[in-house]
C-alpha cells in the first residue's frame, strides 16, 4: 500500500512536469476560479463587518428634562433594562455629555468659545439604548413613550436614526440575497471551468490510461496519480491565488478605507489568512480531484 502511494505520487509529479504547459494552463484556470471566489468571499465578509459595525452604532438616545434628578434617571434605566429586545442601556450624565461634546468639537474653537459664554452646562442627561436587532428600535421607542417615566423625558431621538436603520435593514437583506445567489453562481461557473480544464488534461491521458490497463495496472493505481495531481494543482493554485488576492486587496483597500473608515480589507485578509488559505486549498483540491475522477470514469470502464 505504501509502495503504491509513493509510486503513484512520484508518477503524478513526473506527469505534472512532463506535461508542463498543460499543467500551467490547468493551474491558471484553477487560480482564476479560486481568485474570483475569494474576492467575492472577502468583499461580502467585509461588507458584513461594516454593516455589523454600523448596526452597533445605531441606538436610541432618551434625553431627560434638565430638572430630572439622577436617581430618577437611574430608576428609569432599571425599568428600561427590563424591557425585551434590549442589548444595553448606558447612562450618560450631564457632565459626561459635556465632556463628549467638547471632545467631538475640539477642532472647533468657536463652538467651545460659545459654550463658555453660556456659562452653565446646557446639555441634558440621557440613556443610550442599544437593541439586539436593528428591527427592534421602533418597538422600543413605542415602549418608552408609554413608560412611567415618559413625563420626565425631554425627547427621544429615534426618529433621527430611523431612516438610517430602516435603510440599513433593507441593504442587509439585499446584500444577503444577492450575495448568496452570486456566490453560488460564481462557484458554479468556476467549478465548470476547472472541471473542463481537467477533463481536457485527462483526455490527453486517454491512451495512457488504456496502456496502463493493458499492462495490468489496477484502477486504483491508475487513479491515484490523477488524485495527487488534483491536490497538487489545488495547493499550487491556492498559493498563487492568495498572492494575487493580497496584491489586489492592497490596491483596493485605500479607496474602501477612505469611503468607510472602519473597513480594512488588508486587515481582514491578514486576520483570516490561514482560514482563507485552508478554504482555497480544500476547494481547489476538491475541484481538481473531482474533475479528474469524473473525467476518468469513461476511460476506466468502471
Amino acid at each position: 500500500m505504501f509502495l503504491m502511494i509513493s509510486r503513484t505520487f512520484k508518477e503524478s509529479i513526473a506527469s505534472i512536469i512532463r506535461n508542463g504547459w498543460l499543467s500551467i494552463a490547468t493551474i491558471s484556470i484553477l487560480i482564476m476560479s479560486l481568485y474570483i471566489i475569494s474576492i467575492f468571499f472577502v468583499s461580502t465578509s467585509t461588507a458584513n463587518g461594516i454593516l455589523e459595525e454600523i448596526k452597533n452604532k445605531a441606538n436610541i438616545s432618551v434625553y431627560f428634562k434638565a430638572d430630572v434628578k439622577e436617581e430618577t434617571i437611574l430608576e428609569a434605566k432599571g425599568e428600561t433594562e427590563k424591557m425585551g429586545e434590549i442589548k444595553s442601556v448606558d447612562y450618560v450624565s450631564k457632565d459626561e455629555a459635556l465632556e463628549n461634546f467638547k471632545k467631538n468639537n475640539a477642532s472647533e474653537p468657536i463652538i467651545l468659545e460659545s459654550l463658555k459664554e453660556i456659562g452653565e452646562n446646557p446639555l441634558l442627561a440621557s440613556l443610550v439604548i442599544k437593541a439586539n436587532s436593528s428591527t427592534d428600535y421602533q418597538k422600543i421607542a413605542e415602549s418608552i413613550k408609554t413608560a412611567e417615566f415618559s413625563d420626565d423625558v425631554s425627547r427621544v431621538n429615534y426618529n433621527k436614526n430611523r431612516d438610517l436603520i430602516d435603510k440599513l435593514n433593507s441593504v442587509i437583506a439585499t446584500i444577503q440575497r444577492v450575495g448568496i445567489s452570486l456566490g453560488f453562481l460564481f462557484a458554479a461557473i468556476s467549478l465548470l471551468i476547472t472541471f473542463n480544464a481537467i477533463r481536457i488534461t485527462i483526455y490527453t491521458h486517454k491512451q495512457e490510461i488504456e496502456i496502463m490497463r493493458l499492462v495490468g495496472a489496477s484502477n486504483m493505481f491508475i487513479r491515484l496519480p490523477f488524485v495527487f495531481e488534483g491536490i497538487i494543482y489545488g495547493i499550487a493554485g491556492s498559493f498563487v491565488s492568495m498572492l494575487l488576492l493580497f496584491i489586489s486587496l492592497k490596491f483596493i483597500s485605500p479607496y474602501i478605507t477612505s469611503a468607510i473608515p472602519t473597513g480594512s480589507l488588508v486587515g481582514f485578509y491578514l486576520g483570516n489568512f490561514w482560514m482563507i488559505l485552508l478554504y482555497q486549498i480544500l476547494l481547489g483540491s476538491f475541484f481538481g480531484v473531482l474533475g479528474g475522477l469524473m473525467a476518468m470514469r469513461k476511460y476506466l470502464k468502471v
Partner: protein
C-alpha cells in the same frame, strides 16, 4: 478442425480454451461465431485472415478487453467470465500484449515504460532495478534505456513493447499485428524475437496478415474468415483461399 500432431505439445496442458465462443457487437455484427479452439502451453500459433475476419476480437477476448457474448473462454483452466473487475489486472499480468501501434507511454523513457509494468504489480524496487536492464539486454536495447519513444525507430519501439510484455514473465504473449507498422527487416527481427521467446517456453499468439512473417515462423496457423475458423494447420504457411 485439424488437431496439432506435435507430440511434445500434445502433452502440455491446455493454456487457452475457446468453448463455442461467439462475440456479437452492437448492431448485430457477428465478429466471432462458435469458435472452438485449444491452445497448449508453449505453443506458437499464428492467427491469419483478412481485416475484419475476427483476429483482433479473438485476441481481445483472451486478455479480457472484451467479454464473450456466448460460450466461455478458459485461461489456464479458469473461465474468464468469472473474473471480477477487481481481479482483472491480475489476469492481465499473466499476459503480455504487443500491438501494431506499440502503445508505449509517450512521456516515459524506454526504461520507465518497462519498469512501469512492474511498478503496477507492486514489485519491489530492487527487483525492478535488476530485471529491467536484463530484459533490455534480451531485446538488444540496453543503450536506449534513457530514450523517449519518439526518439526511437518503429522497430525499436516495438522491441520496447516486447520487453514490457516480457518483464512480468507472463504465461502467454499476445501479439496483434506487431509488424503492421514496420519495414520488412524490422518485421523479421520482431518475429525472430517472438520465436526466441517461444523457445524459452512462453506461449505466443500472433495475429497477422503479413505472409512473410507467418511463413518465417513456420508454426501452427489458424485461418479465420468472417468470424469462423476455416482452417487450422499444425505446421504451416500462410494460406487464404
Amino acid at each position: 478442425m485439424i488437431k496439432s500432431e506435435n507430440k511434445k505439445e500434445e502433452k502440455n496442458k491446455i493454456m487457452i480454451k475457446f468453448d463455442s465462443v461467439s462475440k456479437t457487437y452492437k448492431g448485430d455484427f457477428m465478429a466471432l461465431e462458435e469458435i472452438n479452439l485449444n491452445i497448449r502451453e508453449g505453443e506458437f500459433i499464428s492467427v491469419v485472415g483478412q481485416s475484419g475476419s475476427g483476429k483482433s476480437t479473438l485476441l481481445r477476448l483472451i486478455y479480457a478487453e472484451e467479454a464473450a457474448t456466448a460460450g466461455e473462454v478458459y485461461f489456464d483452466g479458469n473461465p474468464l467470465s468469472s473474473i471480477s473487475r477487481r481481479k482483472l489486472p491480475f489476469h492481465r499480468r499473466e499476459i503480455g500484449t504487443i500491438f501494431q501501434d506499440f502503445k508505449l507511454l509517450p512521456k516515459k523513457t524506454t526504461y520507465e515504460n518497462i519498469a512501469y509494468a512492474l511498478e503496477v504489480s507492486g514489485a519491489p524496487d530492487e527487483e525492478i532495478a535488476e530485471n529491467v536492464p536484463q530484459i533490455l539486454d534480451i531485446v538488444g536495447l540496453a543503450n536506449k534505456a534513457k530514450k523517449y519513444p519518439y526518439q526511437l525507430s518503429g522497430g525499436e519501439q516495438q522491441k520496447v513493447a516486447i520487453a514490457r510484455a516480457l518483464v512480468h514473465t507472463p504465461m502467454v504473449i499476445v501479439a496483434d499485428e506487431p509488424t503492421g507498422n514496420l519495414d520488412p527487416i524490422a518485421s523479421l527481427e520482431i518475429v525472430k524475437l517472438l520465436i526466441r521467446i517461444n523457445e524459452l517456453g512462453t506461449t505466443v499468439i500472433l495475429a497477422s496478415h503479413d505472409k512473410d512473417i507467418v511463413d518465417k515462423a513456420n508454426k501452427r496457423v489458424l485461418v479465420l474468415e468472417r468470424g469462423k475458423i476455416i482452417a487450422d494447420y499444425p505446421k504451416g504457411k500462410y494460406k487464404i483461399s
